[in-house]
Amino acid sequence: MSCHALKVNDLSVWFETDSGRRQVVDHISFSINAGESTGLVGESGCGKTMTALAILGLLPTSGVGVSAASIEINGKDISSLNAAQRRAVLGRDIAMIFQQPGTALDPVFTIGHQISAVYRRHFGGSKKHLWQIMLDSLEAVGFSRAEKIASAYPHQLSGGMRQLAMIAMATVCNPVVIIADESTTALDNSTKSLILKQLERLQLQHKTAILLISHDLAMVRQSCRNVLVMYCGRLLERTDCQSLYSHAQHPYSAGLLSCIPQVSANRPPRISAIPGQVPSATDLPSGCHFAPRCIRVKPQCQQSVPHFDSEDDRAVACFRPLS
């Protein structure tokens, strides 16, 4: 455990607005081991995507502030790199798969060109060699006629195929970490699970660490070993998937789980919901941000922020956790 594939230490992101600072990621720390998948779950607007973009250093430079003690990939800190050094890492050591397969690829270049350009940028090589590497990566994600896909433009492929091509692009340099940000949200259930299967298979092969960002707990349960629950920019719970689903400790995690409708042969029990809605980042409640929506709230919750132990395997930020 001395060297994590990805180790994020004390990461914060905020927007500078006319009305002051809007904290969107609030001092979070976590790590992922090689070959493991960790899910980052929470409702939209709670800072998941900001976390991912901050790790890669892709946030705009004006109006946005980022600070981190360190962001390590295989023990190497990338948070202090300059622009050119960072570019050498992006795509080679850490790759990202985005949400919208329709727009994430350049419409005027072929799939093959875009994938091989990633490899060429980091390793170079002859045209023939690049072409072969690119075909291999397309075949690895399950395309049987890779050449045909390689010469196609993005608009000629369906959404699922484009996302697979994106996975081929993410894996072509065999990175240490892949961040998948709501990568299957825009797709159908059926396509979604096929794509997850492919991703899992590649992960097993290459021992890649995956940070799977999603609002879909059912999906995270299927494909992740560990899970981080995020709410209003803070981590509320970290645990392994099995224990989260059997006995979640944070009331928010438990609430989220009860929101998911289940498919079962017998008529399922009525769904239960968390009351209220996610507060806006300009108007965060003091103390525990979840307190106003929490059924187990006590006076202390509105005054002070519960501690979150960033070192432990299992941690929960709550004054009254569930057993």
């Binding site: 409702e43 939209s44 994600v141 399950g142 395309f143 049987s144 006629r145 369906s158 959404g159 699922g160 195929m161 697979l164 797709l187 159908d188 259930n189 059926s190 396509t191 979604k192 699970s193 096929l194 997850l196 299967k197 492919q198 298979r201 609002h215 879909d216 707990l217 059912a218 299927q222 609430g255 989220l256 009860s258 929101c259 998911i260 409708p261 289940q262 498919v263 079962s264 042969a265 017998n266 008529r267 399922p268 009525r270 769904i271 239960s272 919901a273 968390i274 009351p275 809605q277 996610v278």
Partner: protein, 334 residues
């Protein structure tokens, strides 16, 4: 457990042999679809995107014109109605959309949006209309002060509640919800599902609930209809469907939901999220290309929709499957 609906009760909505192609895109949207909904029940229409679910909703609302087929509302064909009858019918059926924000006119207050249907159908006077908007706002679980606001000042959950309120304000008999919870966050989605469930109980409203998500359908629907590339492949009571789906596509859908997807299939053969073009032949089964239990006949002959007969089990309603596998069973049985 819902009581079995007596077969003599006339359906509120009946769709017969409905077909529709988008000629510009050469897409088959709806291909000879027939189904019916009895008053007070909920039909869950499930299928991948591009399967033609939304087109059916829009055809029922007469927003698009189908090529052929009939839609009967309370026994009357809506395409044969004169404008007066159509006006009365439109008041009796309403639609809720997927995107809450774009469902509401951005430069009109919530109150203006809610009053519009009442004014258009000339229901009540000014006072009673305002009273009605207050009532309906409460019904969907919001405070009166949202009435003065504009859509962009509300959260997506609140917007969707308003969209539902606008649909309910004319007290319709039929509510069509087209992916009404698909774009919402899990906790908001759960709240809206709860709201729909309580509306079903309190108002006894008939619901056509369209979704790609079987888990959501399971929560809300009494009956399930499965669409694939414009065709209806299976229709059965929900309890039967989820315990024992019959059509291979239904089984695939359920296995995807439980993440038991096959990985051996070359990805080019996934045609699950694509529609069918008008050029493609219909002389075979539409699912044949992706079917795991395909027989030679599936490539040659389009199966007919057959009603499954039950001997021992108590039927909750009719059960139709459009698959050659069940044709044989059926012919053997009769």
């Amino acid at each position: 457990m819902s009581t079995p609906t007596p077969p003599t009760k006339p359906p509120l909505l009946e769709v017969r042999n409905l077909s529709l192609s988008f000629h510009q895109q050469e897409q088959v949207a709806i291909d000879r679809v027939s189904f019916s909904i009895t008053a007070g029940s909920t039909l869950g229409l499930v299928g991948a995107s591009g399967a033609g679910k939304s087109s059916i909703a829009r055809a029922i609302m007469r927003l698009i014109k189908p090529d052929s087929g009939e839609i009967l509302f309370k026994g009357k064909n809506i395409f044969m109605m004169n404008s007066q009858q159509m006006m009365a019918t439109r008041q009796r059926m309403q639609l809720v959309f997927q995107e809450p924000f774009t469902s509401l006119s951005p430069r009109r207050t919530i109150e203006q949006s809610l009053l519009e249907p009442l004014q258009h159908f000339a229901i009540g006077d000014t006072n009673s209309r305002q009273e009605k908007t207050r009532q309906i706002i409460q019904t969907v679980g919001l405070d009166h002060d949202v009435l003065r606001r504009y859509p962009h000042q509300l959260s997506s959950g609140q917007q969707q509640r308003i969209a539902i309120a606008r649909a309910l304000i004319t007290s319709p008999d039929l509510l069509i919800a087209d992916e009404a919870v698909a774009s919402l966050d899990v906790s908001i989605q759960a709240q809206i599902i709860q709201l729909i469930q309580s509306l079903q109980e309190e108002l006894g409203i008939t619901l056509l609930f369209i979704s790609h998500d079987l888990a959501v359908i399971r929560q809300i629907a009494n009956d399930v209809a499965v669409m694939y590339q414009g065709q209806l492949l299976e229709q059965s009571p929900a309890d039967t469907f989820f315990s024992k789906p019959n059509h291979p596509y239904s089984k695939t859908l359920l296995s995807f939901t439980n993440n038991k997807a096959p990985t051996s299939l070359p990805v080019e053969n996934w045609r699950l999220d694509r529609g069918r073009t008008t050029a493609e032949t219909t002389s075979n089964c539409v699912f044949a290309r992706s079917c795991q239990v395909k027989m030679p006949i599936c490539d040659q002959l389009e199966p007919a929709s057959h009603q499954i007969q039950y001997r021992n089990q108590h039927p909750l309603g009719p059960h139709y499957v459009k698959c050659h596998l069940y044709e044989e069973v059926n012919t053997n049985d009769t």
